[in-house]
């Protein structure tokens, strides 16, 4: 059994409400933290080794220590609940079932950062969740954990929920801040970083929902105990949202020592692939991270079992590895067409580009167009090379990482499944008939014998 720090109480009836949450020891971490100094809390988070759960994996304690603290200027904590990366639905789960965990984490983090106001920026489509969060906020206030002079410590804290309105780019932290200021979600040039000039030009920390929730167990069990869970620089537990061709899609909390194979095939997690199909490929960290064919997914190029953590998933770089990303884990079985799948992702990025940078604005729809052409059997061999060239020219040449995020899936698909692109070029009639029989990856890995 994996150790559960975040979801341990998720299935308790009524845990959404203050009284039940409190009975399970909820808000104990606030009581403990408000007796500590803000510096001590930051130190605990540093010791814990917690890395940002929004995708980039930047050490949270370090990020907090960069926050500028000019006299007389307000500081802000902004929680990134934009969650729009295809394959990712873990923050939704946390907020729907454990709203108080997020609120509790925000109170502690605000205290540590010297922020008296926090905003939860949530994607507009999650339109029933703000009600859940606002109810939790009211309950916390009614019980003296929000508002003025919390627990008689003199610390004031307010939390507001702000809805977005349908724009993936608003998950990028500076675009999020623009959106929160009532503008288009155009990412800002960095520097200045939000830690110096963020919301309304004030010092601001932007963290993912799961990151802030993880602060609660860190305070409860101490940073050093948290750091003992997991392996290497992948400390603590991670939420994985699993989807695609698996028997048990859903949100799982893992400690980052299990193998990818165990995650896919064990009944504790995904429960294997339906209908005895073979594993073809997987995108383990949200649509932006490179897709891996089954053989490279289950074992690194050195033949070691690949583990579900930051280092192991990235082992081999982009040549033979991928990334942990947001923890959006999508499994593709032998029947899935990589070209078509990549095409939907290219369409997604083309739709979501904010349009500020030429390579991203022009390159993303161009990639979609070519992929659509190849997918429908009208592509040529030179289109595959053109696609490769376009993604190369986007990567690294844009204001924000959306450009890279759009380039990587295309690059990885061509890198690992070029034969499948070529098959489409060579079999136009079969493409039109949507018969991908021959497009199956030459060598999908069979399900392991110990399929349990």
């Amino acid at each position: 059994m994996s150790k559960k720090l975040l979801l341990k109480d998720a299935h308790i009836e009524g845990i959404r409400h203050f009284d039940v949450y409190r009975q399970q020891g909820g808000y104990g971490a606030v009581e403990k933290a408000l007796k500590m100094s803000p510096e001590e809390i930051v130190e605990e988070v540093k010791t814990s080794g917690l890395r940002g759960r929004g995708g980039a994996g930047f050490p949270t304690g370090l990020k907090w220590s960069f926050l500028a603290k000019p006299e007389g200027v307000a500081r802000y904590l902004v929680v990134n609940a934009d969650e729009s990366e295809p394959g990712t639905f873990k923050d939704r789960y946390l907020m729907e079932f454990l709203p108080h965990l997020l609120i509790e984490g925000m109170i502690i983090s605000s205290f540590a950062l010297g922020a008296n106001t926090g905003y939860i920026y949530i994607r507009g489509e999650y339109s029933w969740i703000p009600d859940i969060l606002e109810e939790a906020i009211e309950e916390a206030r009614a019980n003296g954990f929000l508002g003025k002079d919390i627990l008689g410590t003199g610390f004031d804290c307010e939390i507001y929920v702000q809805r977005g309105a349908g724009a993936y780019i608003c998950g990028e932290e500076t675009a999020l801040l623009e959106s929160l200021e009532g503008k288009r979600g155009n990412p800002r040039l960095k520097p200045p970083f939000p830690a110096v000039k963020g919301l309304w030009e004030s010092p601001t920390v932007v963290n993912n929902v799961e990151t802030i929730a993880a602060v609660v167990p860190i305070i409860n069990i101490t940073g050093s105990e948290y750091a003992k869970i997991g392996v290497g620089k992948s400390t603590g537990t991670k939420l994985i949202s699993a989807c695609g061709n698996i028997n048990k899609p859903g949100v799982y909390e893992i400690d980052m020592t299990i193998t990818v194979e165990e995650f896919i095939y064990s009944d504790e997690y995904c429960g294997g692939i339906p209908n005895g199909k073979k594993l073809k490929a997987c995108i383990p960290g949200g649509s932006s991270v490179p897709v891996l064919p089954a053989n490279l997914l289950l074992k690194t190029i050195n033949g070691e079992p690949r583990l579900m953590n930051y280092e192991s998933l990235a082992d081999g770089g982009f040549a033979t590895g991928t990334m942990m990303g947001s923890g959006g884990f999508e499994v593709l079985d032998e029947d899935q067409c990589i070209v078509e799948h990549t095409m939907t992702l290219a369409r997604f990025y083309a739709h979501e580009s904010c349009g500020q940078c030429t390579p991203c604005r022009e390159g993303t729809p161009w990639m979609y167009k070519i992929l659509k052409k190849i997918n429908s059997g009208m592509g040529s061999m030179s289109d595959i090379d053109l696609l490769w060239d376009i993604q190369r020219k986007i990567e690294g040449n844009t204001i924000c990482p959306l450009g890279d995020a759009a380039a990587w899936p295309v690059a990885a698909a061509i890198r690992h499944f070029r034969d499948e692109f070529e098959w489409h070029v060579n079999n136009p009639e079969l493409c039109l008939a949507q018969n991908y029989g021959l497009a199956r990856y030459a060598d999908p890995i069979p399900a392991p014998a110990a399929n349990a």
Binding site: A74, E83, S84, E85, P86, G87, T88, F89, R92, Y119, R123, G124, E125, Y126, S127, W128, Y160, Q162, R163, G164, A165, G166, A167, Y168, S179, L180, E181, G182, K183, R184, G185, W200, S241, A242, C243, G244, N245, P249, G250, V251, I283, S287, G328, E330, L332, Q336, E340, H341, T344, L345, R347, F348, H351, E352, C354
Partner: protein
């Protein structure tokens, strides 16, 4: 739209409450939340007079509202049907058959993507990942998600809409 465009008093209270979430002078931050409210109150889309009214309420320039309203996909720039069916079709949903769901709706309602049925009942809006990938295929209708869709489930939902019994809010 009548010339005396105005929020209902209780809506205006709600708007003022939202404006108080931000520091003095930063009321523009309320723009997106207020546009959501305006779209809901004034017929499901944002006509120019509606946007001008929102600008007036927030004491910002109309252009500041237009540029935001046109940026975000949840704001409709033209009239939509009473029921807007937003079917996700990104990778994880595609793998689980979202195209079949889309095709079924296109056929049943005899409309193309982005179109509204002649009776003004339904609009079909293909969507990109809505964060329900594990419960695919899915669609959003009003405030809620309908997940693990099958053709039969879609038919049931359409029928509930026709009978005016689908829950949107």
């Amino acid at each position: 739209m009548s010339e005396t465009l105005a929020f209902k008093p209780e809506t205006l209270d709600q708007v003022h409450k939202i404006m108080r979430r931000y520091p003095e002078g930063k009321q523009k931050s309320a723009l997106i939340p207020v546009l959501h409210i305006a779209q809901k109150e004034f017929g499901g889309w944002l006509d120019v007079p509606v946007m001008d009214y929102v600008a007036e309420v927030l004491a910002i320039k109309p252009i500041e509202v237009y540029e935001v309203a046109t940026f975000y996909t949840m704001f409709n720039m033209k009239p939509v049907g009473k029921y807007v069916l937003e079917v996700c079709r990104t990778g994880p949903c595609m793998v689980k058959g979202s195209e079949k769901i889309l095709d079924h709706i296109r056929h049943t309602l005899n409309i193309k993507d982005g179109e509204t049925t002649a009776d003004g009942m339904f609009t079909l809006k293909p969507a990109e990942c809505l964060g329900a990938c594990g419960y695919a295929p899915m669609m959003q209708l009003g405030k809620f998600y309908h997940e693990n869709l099958t053709i039969e489930k879609v038919d049931e939902i359409l029928e509930l809409c026709r009978q005016g019994q689908a829950i949107l809010d």
